[in-house]
């Protein structure tokens, strides 16, 4: 139970800052005494504040930091600012052509209106096991650049979320950007999610697949990631391995299906039962692999 003094304090104390550089943002976050939060699109955070799930005393709005709003291409690799929205990804024809799975995943989020606000950084840092863009980014082999009081570091996307609402970031650290690596030839990605409706829903299972073929159509590399089947998004090495060395044929897809299912450790909740999630994880892995395969064959 909160006492009166605490509550009165909270009433007047929610501070809003909109710095124009990463360093200022980091300094604000690092020196905050109460609960401080980065505010990106706010499509998660504002909902959480309104429903009393979180009561931050400091909001640091990062949308005014130019560097975080850019998409850049460097020698075939893409750097995507953490505050870039799903809609902005979709409007970038190059990115859409090179990483269709990632762009599609970000644009499954919510609705047109939500996609205009929702950022990639927010989707990752909200630390939901069901975030749509995260398995797609993991499958694509994306890395994040993190800036904090101790400087800049890099980490694979799969290392950021450690549990529901829990991140491996330390106090004052923010995600600055995502780096999608330069792609090998005949490499393509795909992302599928299962929802009971057609939109405005949260993934009951999500699956990202990225695979590479050689000139003969044999799979030489594959990464498979699953969402909403564990306490955090999972990179499933065994599922990727199931495809490597195969022509991504029926037998390989069956092995992939089994490996995906084996990796799941879901819960029963309002969105689906354990057994349902496990079974559908296998189905989506197969279906996403087939889409990625088609795309890889085309180039």
């Amino acid at each position: 139970m909160l006492n009166l003094r605490q509550i009165n304090k909270e009433a007047c104390d929610m501070r809003y800052e909109a710095p124009s550089s990463i360093d200022q943002a980091v300094a604000l976050l690092a020196s905050a005494s109460g609960e401080a939060r980065v505010l990106a699109g706010g499509t998660d955070l504002l909902v959480q504040i309104k429903t009393d799930l979180v009561e931050p005393t400091l909001l640091v709005d990062i949308k005014g930091i130019a560097e975080l709003r850019e998409i850049g291409e460097e020698a075939g690799a893409f750097r995507i600012g953490a505050a870039v929205t799903g809609a902005e990804l979709k409007e970038n024809p190059r990115l859409k052509a090179v990483w269709p799975g990632v762009v599609e995943a970000a644009n499954l989020i919510g609705s047109t209106q939500i996609q205009g606000r929702a950022t990639m950084g927010g989707n990752l840092c909200n630390a939901s096991p069901a975030a749509d863009s995260v398995p797609a980014l993991i499958a694509a082999g994306a890395k994040v650049a993190i800036v904090g009081p101790g400087g800049r570091r890099e980490a694979p996307v799969e290392d950021i979320v450690i549990g529901p609402r829990r991140l491996s970031l330390t106090k004052g650290e923010i995600v600055a950007s995502f780096l999608l690596p330069a792609k090998a030839p005949r490499t393509a990605d795909a992302y599928l999610r299962f929802i009971p409706r057609t939109e405005m829903d949260i993934a009951v299972v999500g699956c990202g697949v990225c695979l590479t073929l050689d000139g003969q159509g044999t799979c030489t590399a594959a990464r498979v990631a699953l969402g909403a089947v564990a306490e955090r998004p999972l990179m499933v090495a065994a599922a990727g391995a199931a495809l490597v060395g195969s022509k991504v044929d029926g037998a390989a897809l069956a092995t992939l299906d089994a490996a995906a299912r084996a990796a799941c450790r879901p819960i029963d909740d309002k969105r689906g039962t354990k057994e349902f999630r496990v079974e559908v994880a296998g189905v989506l892995a197969r279906r996403a692999a087939q889409i990625a395969l088609e795309r890889a064959r085309k180039g």
């Binding site: 909160l2 009166l4 009393d52 009971p196 409706r197 057609t198 949260i202 909740d269 309002k270 039962t273």
Partner: protein, 767 residues
């Protein structure tokens, strides 16, 4: 602005059956229309409700002193601010209410009975202060064991919600209390003898989940009470006279002290026929001396406003080889929520109503459990019973080798059929809807892979009731029409059209409004699909009253007897032997002489509308099922229904489509999910899954017209019947696609996938 598209060229009518733009349309699309939360008053406070976190607990004490001490808090109300009420059942629309329970639902007294039950409310100068004040109210609870499920609630030893609940309708009366409020039974013929003649008997047990009306606009109101006790209330409601009655009763005020204005309403579907915030806002306004505005959050809407019952239903039907049903039996157990009063009675009456049967028996139970008290939801009780019956009909039909449509035609109720619930039907359109279905291209179109087709029929009674309307002839010959039933689905357009039809004036010469409770005599609420029927009947009567007065005034001027004057083609003229003696007088001319011939001309009708007639429907659904994920979705849908007469066909079609959409949601995904702790886990549209637009195909409609002889234009109500057939239509389609008969709603992917797996195991799955 007027768009006039004649449906039937050469029709006897000028306006009826056309599709003009609705009079409230421009305000709605431009944002001028004021809904419940759009009204603001100087000095208004924000009212918020503290709700129980427990599904069942005794309230040992409530201490609001810290909240009252918070700067900005102007008033707090609790159970102590509402007088207790005696136990007494009174009819309220399609449901019964008991003020002893209403007062406890508005503000918990001895116990909280569901997660979200109101315990206290505050009025403060801002929303954030009000929210903080709620956290400062100390409620000491003694948590009690709870029960959520209807079958568990009926077990001996289940946690008791009400210590004094003795099941009514059982002889001899039980000696011990239980959660079963009431048992009902009715029927006719001899069911046992009937089943002996049957060649095919199917018996199934079904379960359905409580579902919410899902109106887009949450409950909202603003109340103001002056120092001398004159109260004003603006509210989103289906019936402002009813709100006035309930508030006066709960607060102990004179009815005349309270004036209620109905705001534009963003959906109700039955859920806005009861009071939640209104008496609380008035109590806070009186205590604080300031206007108080209260708006529920979506979470509050789900946790504490009425869904309809979840149920457990057993149906048994027997038929001869020739397709004639010889016996039908049903047992319905309906959840009422925390207080008695589920719609089990209408459910029982609807169950077999579409059929002409000799031997029927229906037994129903009204059962309380720790959930929000149910409220009316579109054809309350009907869809649940009809889902079960129409599913079994589908199976029996298949066993007799007949199509679903032919089997229903063989057994359909017609004019003169005695319904199992009592009356003999007048002219009805059940057969016509089936024939229209059979003739529809949809019925013959081939299905694709993994698809199935289902058909189901539906029925709803429709009601009339107390209604007042006034129609004033203005000084320039235009007219002002005031009705008292809130306009939920295009009522103002339909009333205008009926008045214009009577008066033969252009539609835009009539302006229509929904009056407040001070402007008209009593009006029962918009519910029971009554508003176009009842207010339409009153509008026609008021228009004829205007005509009569106009004729009288002209006769006076022309010095002719009244019956020597007639009203034709929008003008008063001398009739019979006097024809042509004077130039005809338009309504404008008559308005010009109104002053000197006796004063204003105002037509008025106050009546209790009798002769409401039932509406029958037949729906066809095509559903596709993903064999690997269990996801089922509707790929084609046709809703066919008897409207009696469609005054404005677009709004009739809108009702058919809306009912179908809600029924599809009920069938496929909507359900309340409770945790073991008895708390609702999905109080929001994210996880309480109503269909979104992209989930549905265009819903095709066919309006059948078998006029109701008891209405001047043949109107039947149309709003509720369309939600009765969809669940069975969808489930029958899924059965056709998969080979599996689903008896448990919703047909959500996990349930379908699990059943597919089991059916594949024993070789019964078609996909």
């Amino acid at each position: 602005m007027q768009e006039k598209v004649k449906d039937a060229p050469g029709s006897e009518f000028q306006w009826i059956g056309t599709r003009p733009v609705r009079p409230d349309g421009v305000d709605k699309v431009t944002g001028r229309a004021k809904f419940g939360a759009d009204l603001a008053m100087p000095g208004q406070l924000v009212g918020k409700v503290l709700r129980s976190p427990h599904p069942h607990a005794r309230i040992k004490s409530i201490d609001a002193s810290a909240a009252l001490a918070l700067p900005g808090v102007k008033a707090v109300v609790t159970r102590d601010d509402f007088m207790d009420q005696p136990s007494e059942f009174i009819p309220a629309g399609e449901m019964m209410i008991n003020y002893r329970d209403v007062v406890r639902n508005v503000m918990a007294r001895e116990k909280v009975l569901y997660d979200g039950h109101p315990v206290a409310a505050v009025a403060a100068t801002s929303a954030s202060i009000a929210r903080r004040a709620l956290k400062l109210i100390k409620v000491d609870y003694e948590v009690l064991p709870h029960v959520i499920d209807v079958v568990e609630a009926m077990q001996p030893g289940a946690p008791l919600l009400h210590d004094d609940m003795i099941t009514a309708g059982v002889e001899p009366a039980p000696k011990t209390p239980s959660n079963v409020a009431k048992r009902i039974e009715f029927g006719m013929g001899d069911v046992a003898a009937g089943f002996k003649q049957a060649d095919v008997v199917i018996e199934r047990v079904f379960t359905t989940k409580p579902v919410h009306q899902g109106y887009i606009e949450p409950h909202a109101c603003i109340a103001s009470v002056s120092e001398d006790g004159q109260a004003e209330l603006w509210v989103s409601t289906q019936g402002h006279w009813i709100v006035r009655t309930h508030c006066a009763r709960l607060l102990g005020w004179d009815v005349a002290k309270i004036r209620v204005t109905a705001a534009e309403i963003g959906g109700g579907f039955g859920g806005k026929t009861v009071v939640y915030l209104e008496p609380v806002a008035l109590a806070l306004a009186r205590k604080s001396g300031r206007p108080v505005k209260m708006v529920m959050t979506r979470e509050e809407v789900f946790r504490a406003s009425g869904p309809t019952s979840g149920a457990h239903v057993r149906v048994k039907i027997g038929a001869r080889k020739d397709g004639r049903i010889v016996a039908a039996e049903a047992e319905l157990k309906y959840q009422a929520g925390a207080f008695q009063g589920s719609p089990v009675q209408p459910g029982a009456m609807c169950a077999f109503a579409p059929y002409d049967l000799e031997n029927v028996k229906v037994v129903g139970y009204d059962v309380v459990s720790n959930r929000p008290k149910v409220a009316a939801y579109r054809a309350p009780g009907g869809p649940i019973a009809e889902f079960a019956v129409e599913s079994v009909i589908d199976e029996v039909a298949a066993k007799t080798g007949m199509s679903g449509i032919d089997f229903r035609l063989r057994n359909a109720a017609r004019q003169g059929t005695k319904a199992a619930y009592g009356p003999k039907f007048g002219p009805i359109g059940m057969v016509e809807t089936l024939e229209a279905a059979k003739a529809h291209a949809h019925w013959r179109t081939p299905l694709a892979k993994n698809q199935g087709r289902g058909v189901a029929s539906g029925f709803w009674f429709n009601i009339g009731g107390e209604t007042s309307v006034s129609l004033s002839l203005n000084e320039d010959g235009t007219l002002s029409l005031t009705a008292g039933t809130p306009d939920i689905g295009g009522l103002r357009a339909s009333l205008c059209m009926m008045a214009a039809e009577e008066l033969r004036v252009p539609l835009d010469k009539i302006r229509v409004q929904i009056g407040d409770t001070g402007q008209l005599g009593y009006n029962f609420l918009t519910g029971g699909s009554r508003s176009t029927f009842s207010s339409g009947m009153a509008t026609v009567e008021a228009a004829r009253d205007v005509i009569k007065q106009a004729c009288k005034r002209a006769a006076q001027l022309w010095e002719l007897p009244e019956d020597a004057v007639e009203y034709k083609d929008g003008a008063v003229r001398p009739a019979g032997p006097n024809a042509g003696k004077h130039a005809p007088m338009s309504l404008k001319d008559v308005a010009g002489i109104a002053g000197k011939t006796g004063g204003p001309i105002v037509g008025y009708a106050r009546l209790n509308a009798h002769g409401a007639a039932p509406s029958f429907a037949t729906h066809i659904a095509d559903v596709e099922v993903d064999p690997e994920t269990g996801r089922a979705w509707v790929v084609r849908y046709t809703a066919i229904q008897d409207a009696g007469r469609a005054i404005h066909p677009s709004y009739v079609e809108g009702q058919y489509q809306g009912g179908a959409a809600q029924g599809i949601g009920w069938a496929l995904n909507e359900e309340y999910v409770y945790g073991d702790d008895g708390r609702l886990q999905n109080p929001g549209f994210l996880d309480y899954r109503v269909p979104v637009a992209s989930d549905l195909p265009m819903i095709d409609t066919v309006i059948v017209e078998v006029p109701n002889p008891r209405h001047p234009y043949g109107v039947r109500g149309v709003g509720e019947t369309p939600i009765c057939p969809p669940m069975a239509a969808v489930a029958n389609a899924v059965a056709d696609a998969t080979g599996i008969r689903f008896t448990e709603l919703p047909l959500s992917p996990p349930r379908v996938l699990k059943a597919l797996g089991e059916a594949r195991g024993n070789g019964q799955a078609k996909i």
